[in-house]
């Protein structure tokens, strides 16, 4: 175990997602050991080998289920080393039409996007705030949480709940060296879609998004959002309700 805060591992929850993987790669490139966690750790073995081979840092995989709220603290205490950064990249978009009439699907959306990640970051904040040096918990929300839309309002509402929880968590730990960061991605494509038919300049790559996250943590930012999406969402948030109701996006 090292006392240098920058060399503590980074824990990536939901490491199977593109944003989680790209962020893990960037943090590893800076020399951080990586802990990858997901429901099926065996599915993370390929990424663990990838990151270890690329950057020569130790990488471990861990089984973790976002919807098991009570297990968050024990999971963290069971890690081989307490991480200095915890990034939660889990989420479940679901299908709005299937979700709205299905109580179980609603519960799943809320647990995966809100209560599960929130409970985990709550437990992580309690532990990381006691570590010496600067630490960070990072949650991936969504611009969908900025304003409920017909297309995905259960998802958006869960992400909004997550954002509000992180806001409170941030205030609670304001006097400590713990950073609480909310990331709000918009459309994210993969790095390799060059030459394909992309819907305009609003799409950014998972790698770009990951870069924003790592930069945000380094610069101790509370919010991470691509400037294009910040601009767009400030317009969307401020649309008068009468106008918003007539839009179709």
């Amino acid at each position: 175990m090292t006392d240098a805060p920058d060399l503590r591992p980074a824990l990536i929850l939901g490491a199977g997602s593109d944003i989680g993987r790209e962020t893990a790669r960037l943090l590893a490139a800076k020399g951080r050991p990586i802990q990858l966690a997901g429901r099926r750790p065996e599915a993370l073995a390929r990424d663990a080998a990838d990151i270890a081979a690329r950057h020569g840092v130790p990488v471990t995989t861990h089984a973790w289920d976002a919807t098991d709220l009570a297990a968050a603290g024990a999971f963290l205490d069971g890690l081989p080393e307490m991480p200095g950064i915890v990034l939660c990249a889990v989420g479940l978009l679901g299908d709005q039409e299937e979700t709205q009439d299905d109580a179980e699907a609603i519960a799943r959306i809320v647990a995966t996007n809100f209560t599960g990640p929130a409970a985990m970051l709550e437990a992580a904040a309690a532990r990381l705030s006691r570590l010496p040096g600067k630490t960070a918990v990072v949650g991936i929300g969504s611009v969908a949480g900025d304003r409920g839309r017909a297309r995905n309002y259960w998802y958006g509402a869960a992400k909004a709940g997550f954002a509000t929880m992180l806001s409170g968590l941030r205030q609670r730990y304001a006097a400590t060296d713990l950073l609480v960061t909310l990331v709000r991605p918009g459309f994210v494509a993969t790095a390799m879609t060059e030459g394909m038919d992309l819907p305009g300049p609003l799409v950014i790559s998972a790698e770009q998004q990951a870069k924003l996250i790592v930069e945000g943590v380094e610069k101790r930012r509370h919010h991470v959002i691509h400037w294009k999406w910040a601009l767009l969402m400030s317009v969307i948030r401020n649309l008068p309700e009468a106008v918003f109701l007539k839009t179709r996006f």
Binding site: S17, A49, G91, L93, M192, F249
Partner: protein
């Protein structure tokens, strides 16, 4: 084969989600236009981008015929396009992009085929290793680099050679999804290095990297007033590890073939200035170079006037070595100058462009190159990417690998009928001078021209390594 949406959400955390493409119950999704880096030709193609080896095996089994391996799409012509007629599927390796293992003692890297050489350089430079051979762009995939047996500025140098010279082993997937591991000397290995994907899908490989002390190179820039001077200068520079020349293919008369030679050596750590020591691996320099991709490159069409002006300015800027002196340049500037303009392939506009690259034997090279440059400058056709380089020995027993001892000239042209006419005559000149054409660049050769320039073709065609289930538009065109 599953319908590929235009882009996939980056995991569940990504929202608002794009509307998924409607799933079609009635068979496969329609073919969509697909092209190589030159954007010519554009052909309707089905494509699949399997996420792992199991998915790749399933895609190959389901397809069974007309499989066209495709890496990151940097082959200029139709080498990575499925055949236009009959069943066809471009199987892309871009999501097979994981490293498996790296040994920092020996510099041997095991990685999946879709990893780009730029990623390899960026990830492993901090540990003192760099790909042994890099072509003119960092955006080629590992699998593509093997399949095209690419070469770089160090082909002539000891430790250089072609990409295939540094492959410890590769894994080839056949149409049944079965994997075979091939090492140099194994049946099929020689055919696969330079085999343009026609021996199977390369899914994984082990390559030997080259040790470097920094990400910088000590580069000299020297002007040569005409072709003979340029070739003399290049010959005199064979002791340098990296050497190639930009050539002004529009210059005429006594200035025919005037060129700027770039020759470089890896810079040792002690050679770096303080500022460069802070960025020892020149990774920050890459970020500055690449920058964000321009949303849209102005679609102005290059014409003779703008191109002549560009070339004249570029030549003037080359400056005599006495004045410029040696300079330290980062690896991207040295090896991948055009990567700084992401999407430079759009500069020729919608019609696209075609590349011509030949390799001529040393005995006929001077005469052949002079004839080629005279032809292009007289036709007023020619490019801002014209490269002249001396090649070292080709690999013993290499099957369709491009590099051979002698000289290579690369030119690009807008995809216009007038340029096609010039290219046809360039093909004839290549055949007359005993040369061959680089398949990774080619989009225009006919089967007859191929036969005239590639005496090794019948042996490749008849080889048991040539997998019949694999076919590309290029293979059909060349009857390969």
């Amino acid at each position: 084969m599953s319908p590929r949406p235009a882009f996939r959400p980056a995991g569940p955390a990504d929202a608002p989600a794009p509307q998924p493409a409607p799933l079609r119950a009635d068979g496969p999704p329609p073919a969509a236009p697909l092209a190589g880096w030159g954007r010519f030709p554009t052909l309707p193609a089905h494509r699949a981008a399997p996420a792992d080896l199991a998915a790749a095996a399933a895609a190959l089994r389901a397809q069974g015929e007309g499989i066209a391996p495709r890496g990151l799409g940097r082959a200029y012509g139709d080498a990575a396009l499925p055949p236009a007629a009959g069943p066809g599927l471009a199987v892309e390796t871009r999501r097979l992009d994981r490293f498996h293992a790296f040994d920092p003692e020996t510099g041997v890297l095991v990685a999946e085929a879709g990893v780009s050489l730029g990623e390899i350089a960026t990830a492993l430079l901090p540990r003192g290793w760099f790909p042994a051979v890099v072509p003119g762009t960092r955006f080629v995939s590992l699998g593509g680099a093997i399949a095209a047996d690419v070469h770089g500025k160090n082909h002539h140098a000891p430790g250089g050679g072609a990409f295939g010279d540094h492959v410890a082993w590769l894994e080839l997937m056949d149409e049944s999804g079965a994997l075979r591991r091939l090492a140099p000397g194994d049946p099929g290995f020689a055919e696969t290095c330079g085999g343009m994907g026609l021996t199977g899908l390369i899914v994984r490989a082990a390559i030997r990297l080259r040790r470097v002390e920094s990400g910088w190179l000590r580069q000299e820039t020297i002007r040569a007033g005409n072709l003979d001077a340029a070739m003399d200068l290049i010959e005199a520079s064979q002791g340098w590890t990296h050497a190639s020349a930009w050539i002004d293919c529009l210059a005429r008369g006594t200035r025919l073939g005037r060129a700027i030679l770039y020759r470089a050596e890896d810079a040792a750590y002690d050679e770096l200035a303080a500022a460069q020591k802070l960025d020892r691996w020149a990774l920050k320099a890459q970020e500055k170079r690449l920058g964000p991709p321009p949303d849209l490159v102005p679609g102005f069409a290059l014409n003779l006037l703008t191109m002549r002006a560009f070339n004249a300015l570029y030549w003037a800027g080359g400056g005599p070595a006495e004045r410029r002196g040696p300079a330290l340049v980062d690896w991207g500037t040295c090896f991948h100058p055009l990567d700084a303009v992401l999407g430079w392939n759009r500069i020729y506009g919608r019609r696209g462009f075609v590349q011509f690259q030949c390799a001529l034997p040393p005995e006929t090279a001077r005469e052949g190159l002079r004839a080629m440059l005279r032809l292009t400058s007289q036709a007023g056709q020619g490019s801002f990417l014209a490269v002249l380089k001396a090649l070292g020995e080709g690999r013993e027993g290499a099957s369709l690998s491009f590099p051979r001892r002698g000289w290579t000239l690369a030119l690009d042209f807008p995809a216009t009928p007038r340029a096609f006419f010039v290219i046809e005559r360039l093909h004839r000149l290549t055949a007359e001078h005993g040369g061959r054409i680089y398949l990774a660049k080619d989009a225009r050769m006919t089967a007859a021209e191929f036969a005239a320039t590639e005496p090794r073709a019948p042996a490749f065609r008849a080889s048991p390594a040539r997998a019949r289930a694999f076919a590309t538009a290029l293979a059909r065109r060349l009857e390969l």
